[in-house]
Symmetry: C2
Subunit: 208 residues, 2 copies
DNA sequence: GTCTATATCCAGATAGAC
DNA sequence: GTCTATCTGGATATAGAC
């Protein structure tokens, strides 16, 4: 990996742990294994590194959302084709998606960074809301809308269904970020939530 | 108000906007209307001010939780006495509680501060989880447990019910913190959520 | 591209007069 | 308790040799 990329990687790691202001350029340079002044050959300054994390990692975040499609896409297809999905399948999909969000170094660090910098600027507020709320909500809103049309789940406001489904998942994700040692317990609660949601809203398949 | 208290007030205001590191002692002193060195007659240093915000404001946070009791306490009594509460009453209680959490300067600023400093130390992680997740969850878990026992709502895991009720409220509160201009729209969604939850879980009163 | 040396600045904190 | 003056350390950033 080139030095320029290594700087981004180490800067993200440090920023996500301590916050932008608490990390010095020298700390980043140390982590990369160079001296601080060398770093200015790659970036104009500290602020430039911070901005580059967001600009240059849009691609990697795209890979993440693609991987969501991998996880979620086929349930989508299940639905389109069969009009049904089991509680087991749903629970496993959410579990693997959250596990990925927690354990992928890049995704996890970026989420923590945006969380602690979310009030720094209108841009970062919007980024947080877009990435970690609206995008996820809209995906499930659309999904639930089609499931309602297909009479797979009860007819309720899809936006509110998505909120009731997603918000607990996001809250539990935050708990894992704060207390990684409780991950197992939290994942159990997560599974309970998904199964409860499924039980509440799925219509039973028509009796034979 | 004494200078010592004014320092805390202005420091909280600034910290909640920019974060601990981005606020200088001089900025705090300016806001109070004194020079920076004078501030050291009241506190040992910047860190001491930060800590004092949490220590000395535990009392005020107690007043806030008391006011929750004012808002929520009588639904509790409604329940104990009548075993029922209307959707209108429930929606209005949540609305007023959230409005208070948003508009009380102290409560609002403290929440934003803890949000952006939540990864700074294990203590702050624990404080966030305790104040903004566990405490609220436990309140409603207990409430729902009694409502189930009284056959007012469906028999489901009270912990999961509390999660499904609270998480959307907390998520919407975060949205208001990031985008205060969207408060009205968000409050409408909030009301929709509470009414959906009520409709899902409340058993109809027995027919005459 | 990396280094050493250094300029520049600013923040936290202290000394001591009033 | 507040001020002015100042110390001290640390951080961003630049200059210029290699």
């Amino acid at each position: 990996m080139g030095t320029k990329q290594r700087i981004l990687r180490e800067a993200l790691r440090l920023f996500s742990q301590k916050g932008y202001d608490a990390v010095s350029v020298e700390q980043i340079a140390d982590a990369v294994g160079i001296k601080a002044p060398s770093l200015y050959k790659h970036y104009k300054g500290k602020r430039d590194i911070f901005d580059a994390i967001f600009e240059e990692t849009a691609k990697r975040y795209g890979e993440f959302t693609d991987s969501i499609s991998v996880h979620m896409g086929d349930s989508d297809q299940d639905l389109a084709v069969f009009g049904a999905i089991t509680a087991d399948t749903l629970a496993e999909k959410v579990r693997s998606l959250i596990a990925y969000s927690l354990h992928d170094e890049f995704v996890s660090q970026l989420r923590r960074l945006v969380t602690i910098e979310q009030f720094r600027s209108p841009e970062l507020s919007a980024l947080y809301s877009q990435r970690y709320v609206a995008q996820i909500q809209q995906y499930h809103e659309g999904l639930f809308r089609r499931m309602i049309a297909a009479s797979v789940i009860r007819r309720e406001d899809p936006e509110l269904l998505a909120l009731m489904y997603d918000a607990p998942i996001l809250l539990l994700l935050g708990e894992c970020d704060r207390h990684p040692e409780k991950e197992q317990e939290i994942m159990d609660t997560l599974e309970g939530h998904v199964r409860l949601f499924y039980r509440l809203f799925s219509k039973q398949p028509p009796e034979e």
